[in-house]
């Protein structure tokens, strides 16, 4: 599904100084697998998620990324989405004046178009979205509002999951989707994610805390520190991190 080899990326700070953030990431995710990427603040977890989604603020300095044999790094963000990649944003953007329903329909139909599928008409679309919105426990009134505008933190995250359910990605990357969520919202998000689990779909969960992994149980856990994956294991590793923190790993590099 996803093969990342020696990926290196940097960003220019305000003083135009280049700061290296990803320093040789290697990761292979097979169909059906759920991977968790954990690590302290500033370790590069979110950068990895954003680089995969195609954010242009980062400079790719080396390495390769293949998504189902496609060279991901040459694709535009919209082409990556059409290829099946979905990023649930850590901070979903508020877009005043763009209606949420209109946005969702435009997104679904853009991806369908790029995949040479027929466009969904208003009636079909409405049927599907009414079903999915129940799954994420969102009030229908959020559909008629502007995208994320004035949504609470929890509603924004539910809206991300709703988009994910509508777009049915091949690879979903959840970037700290658990941050700022109460336990009810967390369970709802996890339920949404778990409903997507299937042998042909892969999920990467980027998180700070082990808590989310109680609900979305990963097959693999990776620890990222200073732009590198320094340790990988199964779900037990997450529990160990919860107990011991990251310090013991950081001092080992």
């Amino acid at each position: 599904m996803l093969v990342i080899k020696n990926l290196q990326a940097s960003i220019q700070d305000e003083k135009q100084k280049t700061k290296s953030i990803l320093r040789g990431i290697n990761l292979t995710v097979k169909p059906g697998e759920v991977h968790a990427i954990m690590g302290p603040n500033g370790s590069g977890k979110s950068t990895l998620a954003n680089v995969l989604a195609g954010r242009e603020d980062y400079q790719i300095d080396g390495g390769t990324v293949e998504l189902e044999d496609k060279n991901l790094l040459t694709l535009s963000p919209e082409e990556r989405a059409a290829a099946g990649l979905f990023l649930a944003f850590q901070y979903p953007v508020e877009i005043p004046g763009v209606n949420n329903m209109y946005f969702l329909k435009a997104a679904v139909n853009s991806i369908r178009k790029q995949r040479n599928l027929s466009q969904l008409d208003a009636i079909d679309f409405l049927k599907i979205i009414k079903e999915k919105i129940k799954e994420v426990g969102m009030d229908e009134k959020f559909l008629s509002r502007a995208v994320n505008e004035g949504f609470s933190g929890g509603e924004k995250k539910r809206n991300e999951i709703l988009q994910m359910l509508m777009l049915e990605p091949r690879l979903a990357i959840l970037d700290e989707t658990d941050s700022g969520l109460d336990i009810d919202a967390l369970q709802m998000v996890a339920k949404g994610v778990n409903s997507l689990r299937d042998p042909n779909r892969s999920i990467i969960v980027v998180t700070h805390y082990q808590r989310l992994l109680d609900y979305i149980v990963p097959d693999f856990v990776h620890v990222m520190v200073k732009g590198q994956i320094i340790k990988s294991g199964d779900k037990e590793l997450a529990l160990e991190l919860e107990a011991k923190g990251y310090g013991w790993l950081e001092s080992s590099i």
């Binding site: 989405a81 877009i95 004046g97 946005f103 853009s110």
Partner: protein, 435 residues
């Protein structure tokens, strides 16, 4: 009379307008009118075209207009097709400045309302219209309004009597077809008597490529408790010059809404001047400008004078600039001494979509009363790159994502239009921009 005016013109030569006034084919001959025209032309030429040394013209160069010479348009009887139309409207159509009864439709006009051309009103309602035509405009501040007085072509005169409510909008459609250069100076006068209500749309457009010059003046007089909804749509051709002065005078508790769409022309200057003379008047002024061509220049000057207590004014102008275009916005709220308890808000937001586009924006407040609530703000920005990435990450391609965001930007002001049919019409009009 003819002799006298010929002499006057000879004295004033050389003037780009010298030949024009002698044979004005638009308005009927009246001695008082000719006197005014002679005097106003004299006054204008004495003052001269404004230059960029004047604060009000700092960013807009109109000196090129002084170097052209002008002729009247010819009457054109060819038929034409309005691309988009309002379903229900009283329509008054002018082709190349001439009233065109065959394209106009006044059947929905209530009997007690006077709605006719300026030239007809000078004959039929001379006493009613004369005070407005002899009224002197501020030469320093509104030189082109004075020029309009000198060279007035035709336009619309509306008088809505006391307590009358017109539910159907009145659409003035100024349409140009002539391929050679010419000048028109439309004048519209709208008198809304006490407790009356009217909605009207003045629209300027063309299908030609001529470098014509439209110099329009619209006067709105809202008496006590009158409600006037005004829409001005400027969609002239890419070579044209459009200069307009809109004067709004408000009496007690009147409410005037004025929406200004400006997308056309090579050079456009739109002045809106509101004078709240009595207490409790409210005005809502909105504008949207969209510049899409190299060298396109659109300047909006919006001025509100609060002369009485408890007045409300709200100004929201938004603009999008592409290519090497240049927009100017100047919004001014002037609160006179003793005009207490005023609420005034003004906002101007600009979206620059190209590296070469430029905007000069200046919101101003001048307050001489001490118990008022005034706010103002202006922004100049680009499309939100975070929002753009978010949309693209959901599969929406870059062009569509940009279009979504620019529409969202415009919609904030478009959605202030409460009448659905007019809103759709204005939106359609706004989307017909020439690139």
């Amino acid at each position: 009379m003819i002799d006298a005016s010929t002499k006057d013109v000879a004295v004033l030569n050389p003037s780009p307008f010298a030949a024009l006034r002698l044979d004005n084919p638009f308005v009927p001959e009246k001695d008082w009118l000719q006197d005014i025209q002679v005097n106003q032309l004299k006054a204008f030429l004495h003052r001269g075209f404004p230059t960029q040394k004047e604060e009000l013209w700092k960013y807009t160069d109109v000196t090129g207009l002084a170097k052209q010479s002008y002729i009247w348009p010819k009457r054109n009887l060819e038929s034409f097709q309005q691309k988009i139309k309002l379903e229900k409207a009283i329509s008054i159509v002018f082709v190349n400045g001439y009233f065109s009864p065959e394209f106009s439709n006044l059947t929905a006009l209530p009997e007690n309302v006077i709605c006719t051309t300026i030239s007809d009103a000078i004959i039929q309602h001379e006493d009613r219209i004369k005070p407005y035509l002899i009224n002197k405009m501020d030469l320093n501040r509104h030189p082109f309004a004075v020029l309009n007085g000198a060279l007035m072509t035709d336009g619309v005169f509306i008088l809505i009597p006391k307590n009358v409510f017109i539910s159907v909008p009145i659409h003035f459609y100024y349409y140009n077809t002539q391929q050679t250069e010419f000048l028109t100076a439309p004048r519209n006068i709208i008198l809304a008597e006490a407790h009356s209500e009217v909605t009207f749309i003045e629209e300027y457009t063309s299908d030609n490529e001529a470098k014509y010059f439209t110099n329009a003046v619209t006067e709105i007089h809202a008496e006590e408790n009158a409600r006037v909804n005004h829409y001005k749509l400027q969609a002239e051709n890419p070579s044209a010059t459009h200069i307009a002065n809109i004067f709004i005078k408000q009496k007690q508790n009147s409410v005037v809404k004025s929406f200004n769409l400006s997308i056309g022309g090579r050079l456009a200057r739109e002045d809106v001047h509101v004078l709240q003379q009595e207490t409790g008047a409210e005005c809502y002024l909105q504008g949207f400008y969209h510049l899409t061509r190299d060298q396109q220049h659109i300047d909006n000057h919006v001025h509100v004078d609060h002369c009485a207590m408890h007045g409300v004014s709200s100004m929201l102008y938004k603009g999008i600039m592409r290519k090497k275009s240049h927009a100017v916005f100047n919004g001014k709220v002037f609160v006179h001494k003793n005009a207490q308890h005023i609420q005034a808000h003004q906002a101007n937001h600009n979206l620059l979509l190209s590296f070469d586009a430029e905007v000069d924006t200046k919101p101003e407040l001048e307050i001489y009363a001490d118990d008022v609530k005034c706010t103002h703000g202006a922004t100049v920005g680009q499309l939100d790159s975070e929002a753009l990435f978010y949309l693209r990450a959901r599969g929406i391609d870059k062009d569509q994502a940009m279009a979504l965001l620019t529409h969202a930007f415009a919609d904030e002001v478009m959605n202030q239009i409460k009448d659905e049919e007019i809103k759709n019409y204005v939106k359609q009009r706004a989307s017909h921009v020439e690139e």
